[in-house]
Symmetry: C4
Subunit: 295 residues, 4 copies
């Protein structure tokens, strides 16, 4: 790739913006992460099992309509509990990426526990023959250790941070990690998650509203040349009306005519090949208790 900025095209080629469709296949894990006792709640478990039974197959069908390849983040426990469904995703040509083992937020874990999540999650995917290159922290709750851990487990990109509209490279002690930034506004959870116990959310918005939020960001990314990364959860966006809304979103992206779809690993490679992309070291925030006494 060559680019007006250098000798080749940059990470987004000639497109005004890049669209990356990502799906979290969390199934039971976000509910169990709120407490093991919720395994006894048959309805809550059924709410999550919708993911594998209906949501995931339907969304795979929508992607096939447009021959779009997407990136699926799968907790290791899900890969162990639902191996056929996860294998199917890969067999249909999509990318599968690392999403911890249990979906517990890393910010509540010790270093040892966070490392265990990486290890078990990787092991579970590997057993299905999957070699993930991407990583996403559960609930996006990354720690300052997460980038190094991702590199320790040979992952080459992360998608948990919110400090940019376009990809950049984190220079970790173990080498470069591409960051593909996310944001709450490009997530379906804020629009669709309703479960009172455990409390996952109280939002039942019409698909039109979600589409309005996402389209505004899409057009902004086209104006400023950014990465439109949408995060959908197959237990949420897999519902019939919402799946149709995802189809409408894809049609909207395509109708713009200047946006191209990529998977996470395709983008990762393009970013690493683009010398104009910013390289930075993570600088953990240091804060004095004289300034903020409250722990």
């Amino acid at each position: 790739m060559t680019d007006s900025r250098g000798e080749g095209l940059g990470w987004r080629g000639e497109a005004a913006a890049i669209a990356l469709l990502t799906f979290a296949v969390d199934v039971e894990t976000p509910v169990l992460a709120a407490g093991r006792r919720y395994a006894d709640h048959a309805m809550a478990m059924s709410h999550q099992a919708y993911d594998i039974r209906r949501g995931l197959p339907r969304l795979l069908g929508i992607l096939d309509e447009f021959s779009i390849k997407a990136t699926f983040f799968v907790p290791g426990l899900v890969a162990e509990w639902w191996p056929e469904a996860i294998t199917q995703i890969a067999e249909r040509g999509h990318e599968i990426a690392h999403h911890s083992y249990t979906h517990r937020p890393s910010t509540g874990l010790t270093h040892t526990e966070e490392r265990w999540e990486f290890e078990r999650g990787m092991h579970a995917l590997n057993r299905l023959g999957i070699e993930p290159s991407g990583y996403r922290s559960p609930m996006w709750a990354a720690t300052w250790r997460s980038a190094d851990l991702a590199r320790e487990f040979a992952l080459t990109y992360d998608t948990s941070l919110m400090d940019d509209d376009m990809p950049y490279v984190i220079e970790t002690a173990r080498g470069p990690l591409v960051e593909l930034p996310v944001h709450w506004a490009l997530d379906d959870w804020e629009q669709y998650a309703f479960l009172p116990e455990p409390h996952l959310g109280y939002a039942i918005e019409p698909p039109e509203k979600a589409l309005a939020v996402w389209t505004a960001e899409l057009d902004g990314m086209r104006e400023w040349g950014g990465l439109f990364q949408l995060t959908s959860h197959s237990f949420l966006s897999g519902r019939p009306g919402r799946a149709r809304n995802l189809r409408r979103l894809i049609e909207t992206v395509l109708a713009r005519g200047d946006v191209e779809f990529r998977t996470g690993e395709q983008l990762c490679a393009a970013v690493l090949a683009d010398e104009a992309v910013e390289r930075r070291k993570q600088e953990p925030v240091q804060v004095n208790e004289d300034i903020y006494p409250q722990w």
Copy 2:
């Protein structure tokens, strides 16, 4: 019924989707389930009594306009406190189904207590000459015991779980139980429930918004051949502007031309007669404390 899949038509006949209108006639029970002390709150009690005084009769009138038969879930205590109103529902040709005795969520009860809820609830309906065939857990908070208990009390279908868009059969130890799955997105509570103490909700959405949410699901169910099961609460959807919105929803369903209305028991029979419907055993989720240490 004969079907392209076999010798006859399946559970939804030739319709693209089936519409099932269900109503919970909860009256005081969800407030008292939050604490007996709320009996002293005259306004909260009046907010719930609206159900019997205005909401229920108005909604029955709307159904009559279209000669649609619906399914009404009635807690046993409501049947004891408001026998004439409940008898009226049956006399106007609608189905009455079991909805526990007190509307306390089953997930907070012991097995003995949950059983008592089934027994007392059944007894209260029987005393009015009602022999229910359907069951719904209060707040949809089913346990893994609920399906067996439903069969123990000779109920033939349940409507509390969320793992599908279309009916299926649960093979319990006591025989088959038809499951007619529900979802938060097809419920009026998320759009309309506002009561600060006890806190039932903080939502006062315009009817147009509720209609947008429901219509999206309706069209999705038509695309994928599912069950459009709407849950309304007569103390919420019985308000004048919302009752008119229910009329608009029915008109929308009818205008689609390819959706047919059924009651719960009609659907239950159609499902049991359809050999192509999936039969499954419930598999309670087992989870290790090594994986999720937090109870």
Copy 3:
């Protein structure tokens, strides 16, 4: 008045529905009711003082544009702290009604405390030469004692309960009390109240949305012949964009052509004169601890 139901017209005359505009002039009281310490929060106090400084005069101006008389509910403490502003309301021809002394919800008070609220509130209004005939519980949090207390203080109507769409008469031990029922859906608080500390609410909805909610109820009340009673708070609806929305609501009501405006006391008189209006005794809900063990 003569009526098709009897010899004269009923409480709503020949109108399809009656519109009653009510305003709560709460100023600082809902914030102080959440804790005396909030008197030290200058911004929270300024948020409430907007009521008298801008909100109330602006809304009085809007009412004058249409020569509509409305009913203003004023806590006694507000009458003591802002006597000129309250006197102004009366001088411009509006009705002033009783709204407790401190705006603490009655459900959190003893009988003696609730009685003290009635007495002090009445005294404060009387000192301004106001003889109220109507009463509204703060936060609508009526107890089963409230109706009797209202009659004890010679009040002839109440507007705190939610069990009807049209007026009725409560037969108290001290004589009849007209009830003009209210509802959360016809209140501006759910659409507009935002104050994090003390937490009054988190809603900043566009005026269009509030108008959609209210217009739906208006048309429902026209269909079923009810009372469209809107509750606005001058510290909320007195903001410029919201005041314009109230104007739009009034224009909407007028454009319907079949709705008439009344004050609370006009309605009270019409209801008492209408023999067809339902008379009922309040029946406090009695609930057994065997049924609801949790207090």
Copy 4:
């Protein structure tokens, strides 16, 4: 300036309303104010760092498109941590104002602590060569001490109170302080802030909805001759879709044709020069524990 009310034009000249665009450049401070431990949450920190990396430059670009000068409120700690970015704001011709040192709400601080916030915040801005004339309390959580403290530090206007639609003058013991009143309805936080831990908010509204809320207030301010003061946060409104919405808001203001843009200090001078503007002393609310027993 001469005015129909006196000899010259008043604070808003011949405009129907004045528009004041303000931006809070809070970066990490609102998160750290919720607890020092959140410095360890890499994602939360990245969510805030977006402010300096993308949000602020983008919003500066939007302002340049229209050659509009705005007022930026900057906590002292932000000036210390991000000196180049803050200096840039000033170099591009905008006003920088005082916004405390750490963004902790003043209502939770002692007098000594609140004074320390003023002092450190002023010192940090001064070190960049900035001499602020305006002040805004973090979270608008002003105390009754705040006005005096502002004057003690030679600040000439404040923008934290909500008791008016137009500027007024507070007569403090240390001289006049112009108040430019704010309101929740003219803030982007209520529309856009979503961060679960620490909990900053749960709102992801479409830009269209924010625009509807703001435009309603704009037209109200035009009708009644007020101050349309919009508060945006560069970490929130700096997102692509939202930045475009700010552009749309500016276009809306310009299209009205009768609204003029001012900075805070320009307005402050105009207000001080307008003798018709109301002068008042702050009167802290005194409240008796006999009336409100609960502290």
